[in-house]
Amino acid sequence: MSSSVIEVENLNKTFKSIPAVVNIGFKVEKAGCFGFLGPNGAGKTTIMKMIYGKCLRDNNQNSKLKVFGIDPGRNELDIKYKTGVVPQDNNLDEQLDVFTNLWVYAKFYRLPPEEAVTRIKELLTFMELAEKQKAKIKELSGGMKRRLVLARALLNKPRLLILDEPTTGLDPQVRHLIWQKINQLKKQGTTILLTTHYMEEAFQLCDEIFILDFGRKIMSGRPAVLLEQHIEKYVLIIFDKNNFQAAEKTAEHNNLRQEESNDGLRLYGNSLEQLKAFARKLNMYEYYLRQSNLEDLFLKITGRNINELQ
């Protein structure tokens, strides 16, 4: 048996003749963290939903989708039993309090009552929600709700955790707390599938990222390797339009890649010295020199313009 928790080949999904996912293939190894990046409407959530049977893939002969060796189109229950899901929108039961939300879900997994109570307390402590046990869902902050959804997904000690934008809209403190918890789970052997718009998050958590746009694969690989292969090491951003001409000249002279957008002109290069030399001619608040990151790569390959799906 292979060690892959998820195996996907030629995965397609069409909504009313509009292709949402086109010929996607990937493998997720046990205890790995696999991240999907892509603009809104790129098909990330659809892929996640197909994995736990909330969405059915197009039926074509050479497509393959196996989760724990099982096809979710045939036996979604087995997969759902072993999988925890944090959907994009918090779908907590607003009519029940914090504890009962988890208690009702413990019933769905058929945890014995004493075990359920222990497990719920353990998870609320783990997510730093222990004092909120009796609180109504409406009284919780956005960050607390998110942590509660994560706690709910962990009730049955899932072997696979599906996280659809787990930290969108949260403050940095909560985001870092969630990252820390995800890393902890990874160390314990949980396989993680993640979508995110935060490149920093993908860089911190993922062993492998998969960038898609318009339902199609753009590239995939280890984040550090992708950065190394596809983008220059440093970027100098110039804010003042008056300096653009000089910058463009320097860029041409030094063979630097340039990119103009609404917020400034970017010069990309592998030599820090070259960029520094130019930056010295500018005033302090007119530029920003830094290492290039996943976001630069992402924008480079998916473009800066907004498409009709976003």
């Binding site: 909504f15 659809t46 939903k49 736990y52 049977g53 909330k54 969405c55 059915l56 979604e76 229950l77 087995d78 759902k80 039993y81 072993k82 999988t83 925890g84 899901v85 959907p87 929108d89 779908n91 907590l92 039961d93 607003e94 009519q95 029940l96 009962t100 208690w103 009702v104 879900y105 019933k107 769905f108 997994y109 058929r110 709910r152 997904a153 049955n156 000690k157 072997r159 314990q188 052997g189 949980t190």
Partner: protein
């Protein structure tokens, strides 16, 4: 945490029970506002009828009018509660609260979810019929014998209207459209299903319509057990209820599945 214990998803009965349990917990959370009205409603009704109408109509088909009307009430309450649960209730859980989305990430199938919902609505029918029954006893309107089966008929009525309501819900795009269902279908049924007056008093042309109304058959069942009057035709009523329930449950679930699984 350990990840090695052998695991398998719960059996069907438990899955249905767990869905039922979710609804039960939500219902009992507001036990006062949810549990009291089923008892108040028949009291108000009895007061209204007993003090007023009863003076003018002494009996109907040889039965004191208040008994005739009150026994019909036993299933009307079950009908309305189940219909509410699986129309407005289901729609809210489906569209606004996204409760179903969460539940479907747990080891439950769409079938489990919706069948569990129907069974829950049936249980509410049971409870509402029981409440009316308990109110009628001290007034001497019903005596305790085989009439104890009444809540069971409330359950069957609840299941039947839950199935039909799910079917209706599968077409509804805006919650206000349920107004048509309630005023256009359920309310007329109250008057033309033999609750207020016997179906036999209807004009010949309308009588077949009354036979199509599912509530007519529930009313016959409940009167049979309350007045210990069992006729062979009751078998036809039972068959009608069974077929009606099955057809609309199957069809409704099939249609709702398309909304829940993309």
């Amino acid at each position: 945490m350990n990840y090695s214990k052998p695991q398998s998803f719960p059996p069907l009965v438990h899955r249905l029970y767990s869905v039922w349990y979710r609804h039960f917990r939500v219902y009992v959370k507001n036990i006062f506002s949810n549990g009291l009205p089923p008892f108040l409603e028949p009291l108000i009704f009895l007061a209204g009828i007993g003090l007023g109408l009863n003076k003018y109509i002494e009996n109907m088909n040889g039965i004191p009018y208040i008994e005739f009307l009150a026994t019909g009430l036993l299933v009307v309450s079950a009908m309305f509660t189940a219909a509410f649960e699986c129309s407005f209730g289901t729609f809210l859980r489906l569209e606004f609260d996204k409760v179903y989305d969460g539940m479907l990430a747990a080891p439950l199938s769409v079938n489990n979810l919706l069948v569990g919902e129907i069974i829950w609505a049936g249980s509410k029918g049971f409870f509402f019929s029981l409440a009316v029954f308990l109110v009628l006893i001290p007034f001497g309107i019903i005596t305790v014998h085989i009439s104890l089966l009444t809540p069971l008929i409330g359950f069957i009525t609840g299941i039947m209207f839950a199935s039909f309501s799910l079917f209706i819900t599968s077409f509804v795009k805006d919650i206000n459209q349920f107004n048509f269902y309630f005023t256009g279908f359920l309310s007329p049924m109250f008057f033309f299903s033999g609750i207020v007056f016997p179906v036999t008093n209807l004009p010949e042309i309308i009588r077949p319509v009354a036979e199509i109304f599912p509530l007519t058959h529930s009313v016959r069942l409940v009167r049979a057990v309350c007045f210990i009057d069992f006729r062979p035709e009751l078998a036809a009523d039972l068959v009608y209820i069974a077929v009606f329930t099955f057809v609309f449950a199957y069809w409704g679930i099939k249609r709702l599945k398309k909304k829940l699984i993309q």
